[in-house]
């Protein structure tokens, strides 16, 4: 513990985190085994202790090294393999320290050593069995509990997304701002007012249709987003420029609603709107192996410390994980010189599951 062990990078991190208690336990068991063995065979206590500590600590060391390879999670067979290795190495170490070489004695005369080995096993087996049983039974009940909770959480995330979807239909600021713009244009520029009204119409129709279907297609999502961007561009004047590019064949791909749209809304609201000079929003869709890669790039103000923590992003992540596990991903990057790049990765082949 302490700064000294910190300077030894070879040791696993667990050393710095209370592993010393395990070593103390090993030493206690070894002491017990050595004393019992010395009494039973009336042999030298010093020798027995040397052998016992050597084997115990070497086994522990081997175990730690093997654990490093498994990144801290040791399978049961790995544990079993460590025991003979620890025994052989440990008895050599004990021999170097002046105790009789038990491993060599065992190979030379297995019959004579049967008694002591059986004794050791009889002490060690119940202790090991207890530990294995204890951790295993915990694992099983924990696994059940976790599975139950995971299912509940997935259901919860889906319900929350549906609610958010319903709310998104009538997002009041968007609607009122749009209506205010149409209202302001009716007298002065009725043609433009008509165009925005058409976009609003398209937006509302698509989003209403979507609440009744569990899935939507990429094409439908892009339709909605294009309407959204057209309205935003009308509102923000020349401050917003946008481009949407996706091949025709990809547009028929199935795609769950409310994954792409919030990213675009964020780009408008937190990227372009706060930027004095405005900026460009680009949406690109491409196929990367078995996945759709959807990229929303903006040249807005970017995610500095002032930017609020996005609730929308948390919703997207919750939905991705409930729909696709670790196969659905969302990553944000800083755009150069400013702005945000949001990359959404959705597996293609599992879309049937959404039904």
């Amino acid at each position: 513990m302490g700064p000294r062990t910190n300077s030894l990078p070879i040791l696993p991190r667990s050393w710095r985190q209370g592993e010393h208690r395990v070593v103390l336990l090993v030493l206690a068991i070894c002491t017990l085994a050595a004393l019992l063995s010395a009494k039973a065979h009336s042999s030298s206590v010093v020798d027995e202790l040397t052998i016992s500590y050597s084997i115990g600590l070497t086994s522990y060391g081997v175990l730690q090294i093997v654990r490093l390879f498994f990144r801290g999670r040791l399978p049961a067979w790995g544990l079993v393999m460590c025991i003979p290795a620890g025994f052989l190495l440990g008895s050599k170490v004990a021999h170097l320290l002046g105790a009789p070489d038990v491993a060599a004695m065992m190979f030379r005369n297995p019959k004579a050593m049967r008694g002591p080995i059986l004794d050791t096993l009889m002490i060690m087996a119940p202790i090991t069995a207890f530990f294995l049983y204890y951790s295993h039974s915990r694992l099983v009940s924990d696994e059940l509990e976790r599975e139950r909770r995971r299912a509940a959480e997935a259901l919860h995330a889906e319900t929350a997304a549906r609610l958010a979807l319903l709310q998104a239909q009538i997002e009041p600021h968007f609607l009122f701002n749009t209506l205010a713009n149409i209202h302001s244009l009716i007298a002065e520029d009725p043609d433009k007012a008509g165009l925005i009204l058409e976009e609003l119409n398209a937006y509302l129709r698509t989003s209403l249709r979507r609440t009744r279907q569990p899935t939507s297609t990429l094409g439908e999502e892009l339709e909605l987003i294009e309407a959204l961007l057209a309205i935003a561009a009308a509102r923000l004047g020349d401050r917003l420029e946008y481009r949407v590019s996706a091949s025709q064949e990809l547009r028929s791909q199935q795609m769950p609603p409310l994954l792409l749209q919030p990213l675009v809304e964020n780009a408008i609201r937190h990227g372009i709107e706060p930027a004095i000079g405005g900026g460009l929003i680009q949406i690109q869709v491409s196929q990367v192996k078995d996945a759709l890669e959807l990229t929303v790039t903006d040249t807005g103000v970017g995610l500095n410390d002032e930017a609020p923590q996005g609730v929308g992003l948390a919703n997207i992540r919750a939905r991705l994980s409930s729909l696709y596990g670790s196969k659905g991903q969302l990553a944000l990057y800083a755009n150069v010189p400013h702005g945000v790049i949001a990359k959404l990765l959705i597996p293609i082949e599992t879309h049937a599951r959404l039904q």
Binding site: Q17, L303, L332
Partner: protein, 243 residues
């Protein structure tokens, strides 16, 4: 002459407001129509208009910030955000309009401006309240990898682990490295969301699945959807258990 400045980041709405003011207010002169907070401040200083109609959400500076630098100009807030507007109205006792603004409501506002005495609103108090409402906690963590900068939302971070020189940031899909120390992070992270559980670990409480004690009495934190198991330092156990 009633001089007026209009600031709104949606140019169409600013123009429309200007036209309607001229239509229903005889002796009005719209001296400036601007689309962001910085322009609004410089025009306010240059022209010192009697009234200013300010949108609240604007790039550069928001309407409340602009109002704070106005000296004798009386402010009307125009916004689609009622929650802002109500707070602004209460704190500053100036008028507020919610978009879309009807002609009737606009006429009412003009009447109010003509009748009321030119009391300065307590905008300093308003601004103070606004600053307190701002999110004070760290929301984004920037981490560099080659030429790209990855931006992590704190909500996706499972835990921070202090290393020798760097701090490791662990999310569901990977590990990243930042230079910020745990001490600095602790100061800036939301204590409702993050807690230190070990000398070298800060965990996101939202990802804690359960706290477990092993046979040796060590407390371990298991995470949701992630295999890592984090030990709880002895000094932190009691703190953590209360949560």
């Amino acid at each position: 002459m009633n001089t007026v400045l209009i600031a709104d980041d949606e140019p169409q709405l600013a123009l429309d407001l200007s036209r309607r003011l001229k239509r229903c207010w005889n002796d009005v002169e719209v001296v400036a129509v601007v689309n962001n907070g910085l322009q609004a401040v410089s025009e306010l200083r240059r022209l010192n208009p009697r009234y200013a109609f300010l949108d609240i959400r604007m790039p550069g500076l928001n309407g409340l910030e602009v109002a704070a630098v106005a000296e004798s100009t009386r402010i009307v807030f125009v916004t689609a955000y009622e929650e802002y507007a109500v707070a602004a109205f209460e704190a500053s006792a100036v008028d507020y309009l919610v978009k879309p603004v009807s002609n009737e409501r606009l006429a009412q506002c003009i009447l109010k401006l003509q009748q009321s005495s030119p009391n300065r609103a307590d905008l300093a108090a308003l601004l103070k309240g606004l600053e307190q409402a701002k999110p004070a906690h760290l929301a984004w963590v920037h981490t560099g990898a080659g030429n790209t900068t990855r931006v992590l939302s704190v909500a996706e971070i499972l835990y921070f682990q202090a290393g020798e020189k760097y701090t490791e940031v662990v999310t569901c899909e990977g590990r990243h490295v930042i230079r910020t120390s745990l001490k600095e992070l602790l100061r800036r992270l939301d204590p409702e969301q993050f807690a230190q559980i070990h000398r070298s670990t800060i965990v996101n409480l939202g990802f804690v699945e359960r706290l477990e004690r092993d046979v040796l009495g060590r407390s371990l934190v298991h995470l949701k959807n992630h295999p890592d198991v984090l030990p709880v330092g002895r000094a932190y156990v009691s703190l953590f258990r209360q949560m």
